[in-house]
């Protein structure tokens, strides 16, 4: 979450939201949140778990999300 916020602070092209899963259960269901942190990119479930900065960017910038 903090890393996502740092990316949003550093780039006008990135926005970052943390969503409290237990408060928004239907959205969490829709995004297949079974473990946290769950990362959703452009509205599509992407991955689970905290990863280092470089890996986070690798995944975020992967062609799959283009």
């Amino acid at each position: 979450m903090l890393l996502a916020y740092r990316l949003a602070l550093a780039s006008p092209r990135v926005r970052a939201a943390a969503i409290e899963a237990t408060e928004f259960p239907s959205l969490a269901d829709e995004m297949q949140v079974y473990a946290v942190p769950k990362i959703v990119v452009d509205g599509a479930p992407a991955w689970e778990g905290a990863v280092p900065e470089r890996i986070f960017l690798d995944r975020l910038l992967a062609p799959a999300f283009e």
Partner: protein, 142 residues
Amino acid sequence: MAIFRPEDEAKVRELLTALERPVELLVAHGPEETPLPGARDIDFGAETERVMGELAELSPLLSLRVEDEPPGFDRYPAVSVQPEGRDVGIRYYGLPWGYELSSLIGGVIDAGRAESTLKPESLERLAALDRDIAIDVFVTPT
């Protein structure tokens, strides 16, 4: 009841001395703050405002703003952390408490820094970004 225990409050105050510029905490209330089953006595919106209000009092560089359904919010209650009052796309949806409150405070401290704490190579990759990206991170407070 206070949000922060006296020893935590002292720690948070200390952490917030890292702020180098003003940061505004915008609390957004909306029409659909539906209480959860089993948590009927918790008013999430009011609690969010109370937590952020107490946080804002711990540094002269922090301020609190409260609005009803401001533009740019998907759900409520929500918090937007705004360096120098600018909306840079940071949101927290829900009531921040426990571990997530700590993370949010971390975000506030980063927002208050003049320079990014990301690695230089990360900043280069971000600078080369030619499309908009929306990241949602689902979290739980415990």
